[in-house]
């Protein structure tokens, strides 16, 4: 399990430096090899290598683990695990909604954390959602996007998967501001938490990735374009003119003559 060796450093701050270093290496490799075809994916050559590596690790280790986790753990237990991590992420959301000027959502997230941490037994039970406080998770990557950093190059992170340069910076900030970092100062505990969170997220995404396996001609570009479109919508840039260099659909298929 490669992620363990990645994170198995004595000093957690050092562990966090490993990813950016790996990233920098892959970026340089990408620059050297590039004949970029997609302007949102200038590092495609390197990204594809990381994607292939992730795919191998996923099939050999993460996916079987996630399916096993599903098979042996009852649904309520898995929900509780998800909820605990979700509750900690809500703290990150409070900060970022404030930074984005979304004060109503920030206060709603704050209420969520207060309710779920106390009556929800430390986040095990998500009582805030049925109580009418839906979760609007956000992070620093979205804050940067809302501040105007909208187009960012696509990057596939080792083990963590699709991201952009912007979202990688965001992820680092989210990890730093997640209460987990302070609640679990021991690297051994932090590694276990990281592993369990990764497993829980992988199990939650099984349907999605199974569908992508079936639907995609080229899983790499399918995943990339789904991710980029999703992120663009999240930062309110779905209709950015930068995306729409295609002819209008009416120019391709005249609407008056709907073909059979």
């Amino acid at each position: 399990m490669e992620w363990k060796t990645l994170f198995a450093h004595r000093d957690p701050r050092r562990a966090r430096r490993v990813l950016p270093a790996l990233l920098a290496v892959s970026l340089l490799a990408g620059c050297a090899a590039a004949t970029p075809q997609n302007r949102f994916d200038p590092y495609e050559a390197a990204n594809r290598k990381v994607h292939a590596f992730n795919d191998v690790v996923d099939r050999a280790a993460l996916q079987p683990l996630a399916r096993g986790y599903r098979a042996v753990t009852p649904e309520p237990a898995r929900a509780a695990v998800s909820n605990v991590f979700g509750n900690l992420e809500d703290v990150v959301s409070v900060v970022n909604h404030l930074l984005q000027g979304q004060f109503a959502r920030a206060s709603s997230d704050l209420m969520r954390v207060a309710l779920n941490s106390t009556l929800g037994l430390g986040g095990l039970i998500d009582i805030a959602t049925p109580a009418g406080l839906p979760s609007y998770k956000t992070g620093f990557g979205e804050t940067l996007g809302r501040w105007g950093y909208q187009n960012s190059a696509y990057v596939v992170l080792p083990l963590l998967g699709p991201s952009t340069v912007r979202d990688t910076v965001g992820r680092a900030a989210d990890i730093a501001s997640n209460p987990r970092t302070y609640l679990l100062p021991e690297p051994a505990d932090a590694n276990v938490a990281t592993g369990v969170n990764l497993l829980s997220q992988r199990a939650n995404a099984l349907e999605l990735t199974d569908a992508a396996d079936e639907a995609a001609l080229d899983k790499y570009s399918f995943t990339r374009d789904a991710y980029l479109q999703y992120r663009r919508t999240r930062i309110g840039a779905a209709d950015s003119p930068a995306m729409n260099d295609e002819p209008s659909i009416d120019a391709l298929v005249p609407p008056e003559a709907p073909a059979k």
Binding site: T129, E214, Q229, T233, R234, A238, E246, P258
Partner: protein, 209 residues
Amino acid sequence: MKNLLGKLLICCAFVSFSLHAMAETPDELVRDTSRQVLDVLKRDNGKNTKNIRAEVEALVLPKFDFTRMTALAVGRGWRDATPDQQKQLTDQFRMLLVRTYSSTMTRFKNAQITVQASAPAADAREVTVRSEVELPANAGDKRSAQVDYTLIKTPTGWRVYNVSIEGASLVTIYRNNFNDILRQGGPDALIQSLKDKNDALSGGKHASN
């Protein structure tokens, strides 16, 4: 006299009924179809049988404009394809979408679908209908997904030609990949790639069933 009145009434009721069917608004179309599909999916203990798949396809497929959908996925390369190639592209792309959907559809049998009302202008040609899909059994992650349908008005009613989930369009995520294949081998290469994918999927299905 009484008889004639009765006939007239029935006649009026029938006319207004068919007018209503003709004038089904986009959100009604999405709402009605979703409800009918969920009803079918719940039958047979939610099993994904051949009959269920056929019934869902009969409900869903007529509501889609696959030619427009394929043109949207292909993008500017659509113009370079001959009408015959366009038809083959449409057939293969439809098969891929149907296969992908029908192998995953029973997972959504317990979904709660809320379709937002939309009031397009009387002369509107296109409209986007928003809906929220909630999966109660989805472990942990209870956040609902936003599913948007883009419809176009045709002489026979509204037809869906784009679907996006959480802002990611199921149709245009194919475009960059399609363009790469078109650049290298033209429309015939794309038709072949889609065929190969569909063959692989049906081969895999036989193996797994």
